[in-house]
């Protein structure tokens, strides 16, 4: 199987298995007691160590890292845990942000959804104009989950800081793949997910700048997923810049080869995440491409309306100004550290084959 859907999830690094096992069957404390002679301290140390590794990667402090069950919980915690009033976000966020915002609107909050340009970037002027007296939060993703567009986080952070509005960044897709410095970028809150960096599923983190009070989502003492957290920390530690370079080269090769197929639309702009490429093929349908490749052992995803349960097209491509005719033929290829050059070659060959076959069948030839 060739897995090219790594923006959805990734394979757990096999080096984590021993650590996860250790904190499951040997050092299985819950890191709550301060008085334990050794047993509880072991699990506590694992949590502290993971906090330290993650904090260093984003230039924050270990005391500012909180563990969650992942991206959706971190995002919901931010949106539900702060004051009331006006929130600014974008039209291309992850579903956890957009759905939480919709729920908050029903509860009396007001939300501005910023537009994006054809590259998927917000317009800074529109952000400035959207700020109101009662705006308490700006929440904008660092990199997009479908097309890989990277926002100008440092500039956005500056605007928020000058306006004294809290700035939350969903960095689930970009953590370790792009530079993040919460100090330089004026980020107050940051979402991270372990399963997108070859860590375990169901574990995430929220960075919250010291002094920010968040109303808890869940009451009472919480049992942390210590094995998962220990694995998360190790996964972050094991990530290397070479991994990004390798993926960047492979993505470029994909772009070069796929670009040779006629009537192809490239949705991913230049200078995007190293591991995502979103493209569209005119006159054919993405679900058919994905299913065909799946039957050939290649896994990737589509933004076509025909693949979703609600038959709705990709909200990201829509916001970027692409019509349904374009998003129907869209696919997303997303790579990981483990993607090999041979896998890329096979994927290119099979993709050319299926696009040719489906176009042959299509009555619309352009």
């Amino acid at each position: 199987m060739i897995y090219l859907n790594n923006s959805t999830t990734t394979k757990v690094d096999e080096r984590l298995v021993k650590i996860i096992e250790k904190y499951s069957t040997q050092e299985y404390g819950v890191a709550t007691s301060d008085y334990s002679s050794g047993f509880e301290m072991k699990s506590k140390e694992a949590v502290e160590s993971a906090k330290k590794i993650i904090a260093e990667k984003i230039s924050g402090q270990p005391g500012e890292i909180f563990f969650t069950s992942g991206q959706s919980e971190s995002n919901t915690q931010v949106l539900r845990g702060l004051g009331k009033g006006h929130i600014i976000t974008t039209k291309i966020e992850h579903s956890s942000i957009l759905e939480a915002c919709k729920a908050l609107e029903k509860d009396g909050y007001s939300v501005t959804y910023l537009d994006v340009d054809e590259e998927g970037k917000i317009i800074l002027d529109q952000l400035k104009k959207s700020l109101r007296k009662d705006t308490f939060l700006v929440t904008i993703q660092h990199a997009n989950q479908e097309v890989g567009t990277i926002q100008e986080i440092e500039k956005i952070g500056k605007i928020c800081r000058e306006s004294r509005v809290l700035f939350h960044v969903d960095a689930s897709q970009s953590f370790l793949k792009e530079q993040i410095n919460v100090e330089k970028m004026n980020i107050d809150l940051l979402t991270i997910a372990a399963h997108l960096i070859h860590g375990p599923k169901g574990v995430g983190a929220l960075y919250a700048r010291r002094g920010i009070l968040l109303k808890p989502l869940i009451y009472g003492s919480r049992v942390l997923d210590i094995p998962g957290i220990a694995g998360f920390g190790e996964a972050a530690r094991l990530w290397k810049e070479e991994d990004n370079e390798k993926m960047r080269k492979q993505t470029k090769r994909l772009l070069r080869e796929i670009g040779k197929i006629p009537k192809t639309i490239i949705f991913t702009p230049a200078d995007s995440l190293p591991n995502i490429l979103s493209v569209g093929f005119k006159f054919i349908e993405g679900e058919a491409i994905v299913l065909y490749l799946d039957s050939e052992g290649i896994v990737l995803s589509t933004g076509s309306a025909c693949s979703g349960k609600g038959l709705k097209p990709s909200h990201v491509l829509e916001a970027m100004g692409f019509g349904e005719e374009d998003s129907h033929g869209s696919i997303r290829i997303s790579l990981s550290r483990y993607t090999t050059d041979e896998e890329i070659d096979i994927a290119i060959e099979k993709l050319k084959e299926v696009v040719g076959k489906l176009r042959e069948m299509s009555p619309i030839k352009g």
């Binding site: 349908e285 058919a288 299913l291 025909c306 038959l311 019509g323 299509s362």
Partner: protein, 129 residues
């Protein structure tokens, strides 16, 4: 578990009677590109029997598989028999379709009916001349 039956996948990967007929008597067209599904069905008729059928489809796997299935069901049938073929017959032939795909992707029977009506219209004119 896939949302599709094995039969759907099999027809999708090995479509029957696919292609535009060189010498067809009528064509039925359904769907539109914005919806993502477009089907053209070509028929060749002799003595009121569909002696050959071909098709072109743009759409998801279900759209391709349903057109393929319909072409198998319709080939060799009289026009009256073919007019009785329904979306349900096509779905049943494939061992079922996901409910969400029943309407948007299962247009082949409608396209066939249109082709037959067009053929009869043409034929009537010829007769009256």
């Amino acid at each position: 578990m896939s949302i599709y039956t094995e039969k759907v996948i099999e027809h999708f990967k090995n479509p029957r009677n696919q292609g535009k007929l060189k010498d067809y008597d009528a064509v039925g067209e359904k769907g539109n590109p914005v919806c993502g599904d477009v089907m053209y069905i070509y028929i060749k008729v002799k003595d009121d029997i569909i002696v050959d059928i071909g098709w072109e489809t743009m759409g998801c796997a279900a759209a391709i598989a349903t057109t393929s299935m319909l072409s198998e069901l319709a080939k060799g049938k009289t026009l009256d028999e073919a007019l009785k073929l329904t979306r349900e017959d096509v779905a049943d032939g494939l061992g079922g379709l996901p409910p969400v795909k029943m309407h948007c992707s299962n247009l082949a029977a409608d396209a066939l009916h249109e082709a037959i009506l067009k053929y009869r219209e043409k034929h009537k004119k010829k007769k009256s001349k």
